[in-house]
Subunit: 124 residues, 2 copies
DNA sequence: CAGAATCCCATCTGATACTG
DNA sequence: CAGTATCAGATGGGATTCTG
C-alpha cells in the first residue's frame, strides 16, 4: 500500500477525487444508486439539463473507472442499461451525504451570499 | 422549507453542489478543517500545485458562501488568515469521507482503467 | 434507442507580471 | 505578504447532424 495523497500535485487520487466530484458524475451516480439499472434516455430525463454528449462522456469515464457497468442487449432497437458496480455502490453513501448537505444548507448559503454582496457593495 | 432538488435544472442546490465539489474547494476546505486558521501562503504550500489566482478565487467564493471566514490583521506586512465558519465545519465530515474514498479505492480504479483500456483497444 | 462526430462558444485554469 | 491584472491555452458543455 503506497501513500496516496490528494494534496500532492499529480497524485492519481487527486484526479479521481476531481472526477467523482464533477458536475454530472455526482448526479449520475446518485441516480443510478437510487433507481438501480437505468437506460440512457431514462437517465437523461432524470438529470434535467444534461446533454447527450455529457451523458455519454461521463458515463464512459465512470465505466472506465469501474464504477458503472454498461450492458448492451442485442435487440432492435438497441437497449443499453447502466448500473453501479460493487465499487460504485461504495460511493453512494459519501456522495449522498454531500448531496444532502447541499440541500440542507442551501438557504444558509443563499443568505450568506446576500450578506456578502451587501457588505462588499461599492467598496471592495 | 421549499423543495430544493439538485436533480432539477437551475436549482441553486445543484450549483452549490458543483461549487463545494470543485477541484480546489474540496482540498481547501479539507486543509482548513485539519489545521485551523491558516495564512494565504501556508495554504498555497499545502495545496501543492494551486496557482495564486485559483487560491484567491476559490477562497473568495467560499467566503461569499459563508463557509470560510477571512480575517485581515492591520500589520505590515499584511497578514490574512482563513478559517472555517461553523457552517464550513459541517462540511468537513462529508468532504473527508469523499477524500478518503478516493484514497482507499484509487488502486481498484487504476486497475479498472487498465482492464478497460485493454478491453477496448483497437476495436471500439 | 443509443449513441458518434463535428462545430463552436463559454468558462476554467494556469503562468506571468505588477502593486499596496 | 497577499493579493490584482492580464493573457492564452485547455476543457466543459451545447447544438446539430448522422447512423446501426
Amino acid at each position: 500500500m503506497e501513500s496516496w495523497d490528494p494534496y500532492t500535485r499529480g497524485c492519481p487520487s487527486r484526479d479521481l477525487l476531481d472526477q467523482i466530484g464533477s458536475k454530472w458524475a455526482v448526479l449520475m451516480l446518485g441516480e443510478l444508486g437510487k433507481h438501480g439499472a437505468c437506460r440512457f434516455t431514462q437517465l437523461r430525463q432524470r438529470l434535467a439539463g444534461v446533454s447527450e454528449k455529457m451523458l455519454t462522456q461521463t458515463l464512459r469515464t465512470l465505466e472506465r473507472d469501474g464504477l458503472v457497468r454498461r450492458t448492451v442487449y442485442a435487440e432492435v432497437p438497441a437497449r443499453v442499461e447502466y448500473e453501479l458496480t460493487s465499487l460504485g455502490q461504495t460511493l453512494r453513501a459519501p456522495l449522498r451525504a454531500l448531496t444532502e448537505w447541499s440541500v440542507r444548507h442551501i438557504e444558509e448559503v443563499l443568505e450568506a451570499r446576500d450578506e456578502y454582496d451587501v457588505r462588499t457593495e461599492g467598496a471592495g
